[in-house]
Symmetry: C2
Subunit: 388 residues, 2 copies
């Protein structure tokens, strides 16, 4: 186990009708809030009205930034920062999924910063403070509701980059599983792939002496594997939605499940290049990339892949070699993704080979990616070719 | 899964030589610290000198409260409160195990309170604020380094009572596994029993629909079962000590592993009555009580006990009935405790039947205890008799 720091100050408020607790939790953060949301589905479901009633009950003046994109854009973040400055906003409330929350975080860290918030994504500046923010989660996937990370897309430059800071952790997140009943089957599947992928980035690690962390990772993977098909099949199954929501949050909440382990994150970097150009759902991209990354790297540490096959997929030895075990686990992963409706190849989402070079180059813009196996441009290109 | 709130603001600083980071972490909390510690073993190991050097480097004036008892006493807490008030102490640093940390918490919440801090243990007052505190952990067991709970003994009244508050969470805890190299085998065993018991209190629950939480609990149990015998046998095995330390912290850090589950805590209440009178090690008492509690209650929800036997102890069905499975898991627990040197019966620690009535009565002083099976005085007495 490596040395580590862990600090996650976000308060979770979880359960049916947890939205009713918004007003009492937001009171005390000032009198002016920026409400950030996406394409307006929260108006159809009635959530918007509930949130507004809670904000009114807390005596907050509400300013709105609607229309956050699925891959939230820097230009939209700029609009939010401008709104906050103009109206003296004191608190940011994100109502939505990971994209909405990420945009809210970028606004929160951007408001008190004199330069361009994109500096944080390009590692040209360090985040020193932020407006406080809270979230009402409507999609189980990214874990953004309980971490300090955000991913922003600079659409003009076709770049998707992330930042992370202790200052960007939400003060509180309201997790009401019934808010995800209306999430369509494909988004439910992509969200499930996303949370499993977050665990993969941590679990496939070269760090040794981490038996508890490995089991915590496997616990989430097994629980997603059990519950995602139920949620896809029965969208209003509260238990399945609640279990997925908790899995998504725990999968990426400041590294709780992988403290002291070196993380990888190469697959995310590769997927970000795909969705920076093609604007596909992040989880769909990950479903395509991850099994191919696994096949490309598994020999680096075959024991971890054997353990994965045995513990997560209950694949029995039955005379199999280590290679056969590892590959059976990878194949089970692919088959599972397919079974819940996630794509398997770039062709499935209409992407050809035209941008492979560019994506490979951009992925390693800051140097080789990954730690389980360090990947250079040629490696990334090879993995992308496997994805075709 | 039930509705829940989860909020754990404690920062963990974990790893070899993490004590070297004390100074930089304590700076900013004022100029005057109360250093709280136990019987002086930190002077023998050199830890005291290291801590003092760090505090000096941070420019802190240091006041000391030494001699915290293994079951920390209200009278000692009173002394600490008096010291803080007299010297205008701004921060409390606990260097030790759970007892020292618990005493520090009681001092922290007691200083700004006008009444007697015992009021909080007797539910006669609510904790509204506290001095900030930090910890340097020297014993893996209670999880007190990352939660807001404390257990205090009123020796005059032979009562051992607890309180909990968000205000009593440490600001930071320094977890350097090598500081536990000098913990003797019996204390290592009791600490391991303690952390497993914390998991049991959460895991044996009537709440359904909690597959992730159950696996998180099992993850800790399995990891303790693997690592405790190693630490007992090889006290300077860093990995085993590090794994146990993380298990102890995660086992009871504000309920992270059991969010949305009803907890039990009857066995702790029973053990508290034993150690309130006899001053035995808490973990030793738990080793005696828990398997007997299990035998007394397992029929309440036999499926959980079967799962426990299968997943934690890898006991195979092989034609066993549910009852046989459950009892085999309980027997494996007892055998494991014995194998690492923990006592099995009250007689092993020199306790007879003379105080059973009194202990049973005190245990239910505030009403029936437990939730897995609600226990009245007769139930507690029956369990204590099984412990003889």
């Amino acid at each position: 186990m490596n040395s580590f720091r862990f600090h996650n100050p976000t308060q979770l408020i979880f359960g049916r009708n947890a939205v009713d607790q918004l007003g009492s939790n937001i009171a005390g953060y000032g009198k002016s809030v920026l409400l950030v949301y996406g394409g307006g589905s929260i108006k159809q479901t009635g959530l918007y009205d509930k949130v507004m009633a809670q904000l009114r009950s807390a005596g907050m003046a509400v300013h709105e930034l609607a229309g956050i994109e699925p891959n939230p854009r820097l230009s939209t973040v700029h609009k939010g920062i401008e709104l906050c400055r103009r109206h003296g906003v004191e608190f940011i409330l994100a109502v939505g999924g990971g994209s909405v929350i990420d945009a809210a975080k970028a606004i929160a860290v951007g408001v008190p910063y004199e330069g361009d918030v994109w500096d944080f994504c390009m590692r040209r500046a360090r985040i020193e403070k932020a407006l406080p923010l809270g979230t009402v989660l409507t999609l189980s996937a990214t874990g953004s509701e309980m971490n300090g990370n955000a991913v922003i897309t600079n659409w003009e430059e076709k770049q998707k980059r992330s930042f992370g800071s202790i200052h960007a952790y939400p003060q509180f997140s309201i997790l009401a599983p019934e808010l995800t009943f209306t999430v369509p089957a494909n988004q439910t599947a992509y969200g499930s792939v996303d949370m499993m992928s977050h665990v993969f980035e941590q679990y496939f690690s070269k760090t040794t002496g981490t038996p508890l962390q490995e089991r915590l990772c496997e616990s989430i993977l097994q629980t997603v594997v059990e519950n995602a098909p139920i949620a896809v099949r029965e969208p209003e199954n509260y238990d399945a939605r609640a279990n997925l929501m908790l899995c998504g949050t725990y999968a990426l909440n400041g590294g709780m499940i992988s403290v002291g382990m070196e993380n990888d994150w190469a697959s995310h970097a590769i997927e970000h290049e795909i969705s920076a150009i093609y604007d596909i759902a992040h989880g769909a991209g990950l479903a395509i990339v991850f099994p191919n990354w696994m096949k490309y790297v598994y020999k680096e540490r075959i024991d971890r892949f054997v353990q994965y096959a045995e513990r997560v997929w209950a694949i029995e030895r039955a005379g199999r070699t280590d290679d056969e075990m590892a590959l059976a686990g990878i194949e089970a992963t692919r088959a599972f993704f397919t079974s819940i409706g996630a794509p398997a190849r770039l062709a499935d989402v209409g992407i050809g080979s035209e941008s492979l070079d560019r994506m490979a180059e951009e992925a390693v813009r800051f140097g080789p990616i990954g730690s389980f196996k360090k990947l250079g441009k040629d490696d990334v290109r090879a993995i992308l070719e496997m994805c075709l």
